[in-house]
Symmetry: C2
Subunit: 503 residues, 2 copies
């Protein structure tokens, strides 16, 4: 076989793996959006089948032989094919380390645990979740061993979602961030709180969704290759490079949740829609990491979507949609409301400034659990202690405490879950600052409801490359420096310093 023939076979095999994953994604999307309730058991079985067929192909020894035969090409070249081979090899080497029987056990636990959590959380019943969490921790430790040796137990988990990052790097980054954030939050919270009551009128669902979708398409979300539906937990999903969908929600008595969920998922979708067509259906045809992906959802949601420039254009339009609810609310009041900073209990509702504190304390607790320094039974108490220390709030119960996030209770493992959200905030500011250096006119364009320059810069420097470059590479290429919290802290200090009249 010539190299070209081998590459063709490789691409065909990888595309089949992808198509099985995408078929499963359609079934999951339908489950979240439209499936009648009784459909769940059969759907779970069908998803498990597709996932098994995908895993069989991902770990097929014939794929391994093909990749081994192509390895010399990858070592000697630096083109797209070489990158494809290298990434596919890495994926293969990781996949074969995990026995199919482990995957099955982990999936089964994940399903059972998730079902239990859906009951336990509303009933504030941590006790019933304790055995699941203990088992989950056990399975996580078993998983980590497949990748021994490692520096820290969390490293293989982190590497799965953010290739190249380690526990040590993140710890250092989070320590630095925490040192900066805690006093900033304190000084903001010394000021009178913003009045967010304008967000709590009665807002009909349809205009909320339509307004959000209008902004999404203004950002550049292409509805010929996408669509918006509603789900209790918004997400972005992909069925091919030409079908990338988002979901959102709309609350009748709270405007910002639905709107900013739409903009958040739009950010994910813009990244995926911006990937070069020639990478489609290969392991290079997706965002390079969780953290970088989250940077794009946070950039469009927050850096753009919660900016004064953005609302200069869109607030009159929003008022037109909701004249009774917002007609008498000034742009400034609205802007302050959507950027209200407060020490709160729920991560997903947190503002831009306090958000990372929620993440960091979860990350720390995960490490303590992994390292065996914290027993699952003591988690509720440890959680409360950390909220009191870092956010000066005391969760009244576990429901809004350590039961609030699905991550630990859905089989994803303990320790590879939360850090990416903070990485996303940090990188959102870093990418945005780099775009502004290249195109200082971007703020004026946003003020005119125009996003082409920003989106094109992101597409050129980030989106189109998909997974061709590792996260650290793409950050360095796009921004000229390694990941740093400086642009992020400068962004927060600039924006919130003005909002809260800080010195």
């Amino acid at each position: 076989m010539t190299i070209a023939t081998k590459l063709r076979e490789l691409r065909a095999r990888l595309l089949e793996i992808r198509d099985l994953g995408w078929a499963g994604a359609v079934l999951s999307w339908d489950q979240a959006t439209y499936m009648p309730v009784a459909g769940a058991p059969a759907r779970a079985r069908q998803l498990a089948l597709l996932s098994r067929l995908e895993h069989e192909r991902m770990t097929d020894p014939a794929l391994g032989r093909l990749l081994a035969a192509l390895a010399p090409y990858a070592d000697e070249h630096d083109d797209d094919d070489a990158r494809l081979i290298a990434v596919a090899r890495r994926d293969f080497e990781k996949a074969i380390k995990v026995p199919a029987s482990y995957v099955e056990r982990a999936n089964a636990l994940g399903s059972a645990s998730y079902s239990a959590w859906r009951n336990a959380r509303p009933n504030n019943d941590f006790a019933s979740m304790r055995p699941y969490l203990e088992k989950s921790l056990e399975l996580t430790r078993e998983y980590v061993e497949f990748f021994a040796p490692y520096q820290h137990m969390a490293d293989p988990l982190i590497d799965d979602v953010d290739e190249g990052l380690t526990c040590a790097t993140i710890r250092a980054l989070f320590d630095e961030l925490r040192r900066e954030l805690v006093p900033l939050v304190a000084s903001i919270c010394n000021q009178p709180p913003a009045d967010a009551s304008c967000l709590h009128a009665e807002f009909a669902e349809r205009p909320q969704l339509e307004f959000g979708l209008k902004v999404a398409t203004d950002f550049g979300y292409d509805l010929k290759r996408g669509r918006l539906d509603t789900t209790p937990h918004p997400f972005c999903t992909k069925f091919s490079d030409a079908d990338i969908r988002i979901t959102t929600r709309a609350y009748a008595n709270e405007l910002s949740q639905g709107l900013f969920s739409t903009l958040h998922e739009t950010g994910h979708a813009l990244y995926e829609q911006g990937i070069a067509h020639e990478l489609a259906g290969t392991p290079l045809g997706r965002g390079t990491s969780m953290g970088v992906h989250e940077s794009q959802s946070r950039l469009w949601e927050n850096v753009v979507g919660r900016s004064r420039n953005f609302w200069q254009h869109y607030y009159p339009k929003l008022q037109q949609e909701f004249p009774e609810q917002l007609g008498k609310t000034s742009p400034d009041t609205f802007y302050r409301a959507i950027n209200k900073v407060e020490r709160s209990l729920i991560r997903t509702d947190a503002d831009e400034v306090t958000y990372n504190l929620h993440v960091i304390l979860r990350f720390d607790l995960e490490l303590e659990l992994l390292e065996g320094k914290l027993a699952v039974k003591d988690l509720p108490q440890a959680w409360r202690a950390r909220y009191e220390r870092d956010l000066a709030t005391t969760p009244p119960d576990d429901r809004d405490g350590c039961l609030q996030d699905v991550h630990w209770y859905s089989g994803g493992g303990i320790g590879g879950a939360f850090h990416s959200y903070a990485i996303g905030n940090i990188l959102a500011a870093q990418f945005h600052a780099a775009a502004l250096r290249a195109h200082p006119d971007i703020p004026n364009e946003i003020r005119a409801g125009e996003f082409t320059t920003l989106r094109q810069w992101l597409t050129e420097n980030l989106y189109r490359h998909g997974r061709k470059f590792k996260p650290a590479e793409i950050v360095a290429r796009a921004t000229g420096e390694p990941m740093t919290i400086k642009p992020y802290m400068a962004y927060l200090r600039g924006k919130y310093g003005a909002l809260y009249q800080l010195a």
Copy 2:
């Protein structure tokens, strides 16, 4: 291996085959309902992949060995397991006769032909479809040879959808039917035509859909295991025994199309939802044939849904939904409008009386094409001649002539497509008459918007058995006689004799 172990393995294999089919059905449903336009090429590829994986498993020699080992059990017993083995063996024996390469070629032609037809029909361009149709005819002949020897070339095609029926049987049935129908249509069309103008006001989409869905649930359609969406071409689909969905359409200026499409698809769904739970996921867990399936859509759509009894209960409710449009229309005028008989050009719009003439002429043309008595190039002319002879109308063009139905242009083969619709009409009346003999009170219940007795009789005598009995068996068991046009002709003469004051 014990019989029990072998049966367990058989069920597991069959369930995997079914789940791959059902996963494909989800992808197809999404394509018809919500998929963004650009998603089509990847979706076709994913559907082909799932279909290939399903076909590999359907023809797996290990399945054949398992079935052979279980064959003695099937020969010696008459329980559900024995029926399952027998039906699975038959499916297997048929599946292995068709080479995978043929399936691929046929699917590829089907996709290409369907795409071409979507352009050709609006442009009245039969010439561009001629090569596709010629190729399709060629492939159909190739397919038929896999099942040689046969009495008539159409027999294997007919057997695929209506097991046990043959071309000779259908020909005889259709000859008899045509002899009865042609004079009946003539005597109706000698009367003044019904006034259907009340159906052509402006009707908003949402109340149309809601009204149809209300009737569907009154019929017994279970929304915990189903839902209704809109598509240009309505259908019923199934993703498991607990997720059976229907689609419909709504036209702003024509009320009956959408409403009766909903009732039609509800009939299919009631059949599938009524199948005994223990047959789920096996080859017994679906309707026994196309013709019998169509009998249920036509029974609920026409025999129930276009009856005077039905509208005695529902017409006031429909008027409430559309007071401006229907407030001044009498129940009798409305009833005559939805049962207007006319010689028309389009099969899918045809009334109950003329409908079968549309089917019979297609069936005859299919046979002539198959037998080589009619060349594809002469089809438009032959079509026109038959419409003039049988329906006294002349299609002004091929768009509303031989290009109107998708069947010949979507890879389904020529000759196994249309006859089931007429079988459905005939059997609808036969099943209904049998139900009435058992429960003479059914018309009174329907007059009160109550359908339980009818649905339960159908469930007991037809639905719950799924594919356990062959079509002819189930007809004989449920109605006490073989398929016959007598109840159907009696139904038509009774209903339309009164409507059109025939002697």
